[in-house]
């Protein structure tokens, strides 16, 4: 892997603006991704969605402690560091969500008795943090060359008091929303890998959000593809 090579890829969603107020309905904020920016980890990525930014480093497959080793597959560890303060119970809960999502896509059976460590650092939080963490983790795993059966992406939906759906909400929209739903979807069949929700909502609203998230995930996957194509075509 060439040290110090940066690929800056920027992409715009179909109807979204680069920054500033979005149109009503479904559109994602401007996102950007940089890979291979840290020299020590085997893979690293920085993902920005609007003003939310997360930096991820991946180490692996590497040596694992005997107490943690699994005989037939790789042990995945996730560490999430908040921007300020010490990691608490909420971070542990998010680490479990991210870890289980990665475990579902990473082909651990190809590297038994090894460990793959994903370290996430929150640089800035302006809404949709968990989705940004998932996207950054996926890009970093790709950068590290960890074998995966599919890519995954995170999408956040917010439902406000009158039932309007907003995708990729800002921090202000999240606070005022009645419910905030975060989904992780895989790239092969758009199946639901992970879901975590806040607030009260009905069954029909859930299906609506899931459908909107599946459409939005297409933009994210297209962005991944373009960004990787640009990177490998340069070399």
């Amino acid at each position: 892997m060439e040290v110090g090579m940066h690929t800056d890829s920027k992409s715009r969603a179909e109807t979204g603006a680069e920054s500033g107020p979005r149109g009503p309905g479904c559109s994602l904020r401007h996102f950007a991704c940089e890979q291979n920016l840290l020299s020590r980890p085997d893979g690293s990525a920085s993902f920005m969605q609007g003003d939310t930014s997360v930096l991820v480093g991946v180490y692996g497959p590497a040596e694992v402690k005997v107490s943690k080793e699994i005989f037939n597959k790789a042990t995945l560890e996730v560490i999430l560091r908040p921007k300020i303060g010490l990691p608490g119970v909420a971070e542990k809960s998010r680490e479990q969500l991210i870890r289980n999502t990665c475990e579902a896509v990473v082909l651990g059976a190809l590297h038994p008795r090894t460990s793959i460590t994903v370290v996430l650092q929150v640089i800035s939080d302006a809404g949709s943090l968990l989705a940004c963490c998932l996207n950054a983790a996926c890009m970093a795993l790709v950068d590290a060359g960890v074998p995966m059966r599919a890519l995954f992406c995170g999408v956040t939906c917010a439902l406000d008091a009158d039932g309007t759906l907003v995708l990729d909400p800002t921090a202000k929209q999240e606070k005022e929303a009645r419910a905030v739903l975060t989904f992780a979807l895989d790239s092969v069949e758009r199946k639901l890998l992970m879901s975590t929700t806040k607030g009260l909502y009905s069954d029909a609203e859930l299906q609506q959000c899931l459908a909107a998230a599946q459409t939005a995930s297409q933009h994210v996957f297209r962005f991944y593809r373009e960004s990787l194509q640009r990177r490998y075509s340069k070399s």
Binding site: V89, A90, K92, S93, E95, Q96, L97, I98, R99, N100, T101, C102, E103, A104, L181, A184, L185, D186, E189, K191, L192, L193, M194, S195, T196, T197, K198, G199, L200, Y201, S202, D203, L206, Q207, L210, A211
Partner: protein, 276 residues
């Protein structure tokens, strides 16, 4: 079946049962284990409940104390849940600081309380800006055999229904709180959130209420928390194999029936507690 086969090839052993649409303990794929609940067993707590879901046993104790309300919300009290998974309940837990599973369960219960608005925090305020109740809800698992989240949610709900808070008046002259232990009121429980957990097997099959062994063999888990109007408080799917929207719909309908079963059980228990 030979017990050696179960130890050597647990997944294959399970698959043989799943093919016949049942499980080794004789249950159907959509059947819950026997649920029992016992309320008010801890006399030193302000409210308590013991829930057994098959072998999984969780006890919840609620203690009420005084505290100053938060400065950014002077008319609200606090509800502080904590889930403890001690080495007593299973060999996979060691003594020491709470492990990941306990922390995740605590966060889950905190989210359920917050999302479902089971208690209006304003009801816990005694004197705005000066005094409010804080309810410490401690959930301790006594026996771990899978599906800890369902048991904890049910135990919390039953314990909160059992909590009686004494009346508190602020004496205007001394500005001290006077507690009248003779006059106690039940909490105003606004909704009844009920959790239903599923385990995903081999990316396609969904089974309800997994035991400890089933959770270990499963490729994913899903927990749905629903209240009586069919509104969802929480859809907790921590990774694992993917699910389609149609499969989620099936889970929703099962969660609705489970809510009815649990509500009926709760009402029976509360009725039996009332003095005749």
């Amino acid at each position: 079946f030979n017990t050696c086969f179960r130890t050597v090839e647990p997944l294959e052993y399970y698959r043989r049962f799943l093919k016949e649409n049942c499980r080794p303990d004789g249950r159907e794929l959509g059947e819950f284990r026997t649920t029992t609940v016992n309320i008010g067993s801890i006399s030193t707590a302000d409210g308590s409940a013991l829930v057994k879901l098959g072998n999984t046993t969780v006890i919840c104790g609620v203690k009420a104390e005084f505290a100053a309300p938060p400065t950014d919300a002077p008319d609200k009290g606090y509800v502080v849940p904590n889930v403890d998974l001690p080495p007593l309940c299973s060999s996979k837990f060691r003594s020491g600081p709470p492990g990941e599973e306990a922390q995740v369960a605590s966060q889950f219960i905190a989210d359920v309380i917050e999302n479902s608005q089971i208690i209006q925090k304003e009801d816990l305020c005694i004197s705005p800006g000066k005094l409010a109740w804080v309810l410490y809800c401690d959930l301790i698992c006594l026996d771990y055999d899978g599906n800890i989240l369902d048991a904890c949610t049910f135990a919390l709900l039953a314990a909160l229904k059992n909590v009686q808070l004494p009346e508190v008046t602020i004496n205007e002259e001394t500005a001290l709180a006077e507690v009248n232990l003779k006059k106690k009121n039940y909490l105003n429980i606004r909704t009844h959130p009920v959790a239903t957990s599923f385990a995903v097997f081999d990316d396609t099959l969904l089974i309800v209420d997994p035991t400890g062994e089933e959770e270990h063999l499963a490729t994913g888990t899903l927990t749905i928390v629903m209240d009586e109007e069919g509104k969802l408080c929480c859809l907790h799917k921590p990774g694992g194999s993917g699910l389609t929207g149609a499969k989620l719909q099936d889970c929703m309908s099962r969660a609705v029936t489970r809510h009815k079963e649990v509500k009926k059980l709760m009402d029976e228990v509360i009725k039996s507690m009332k003095p005749k």
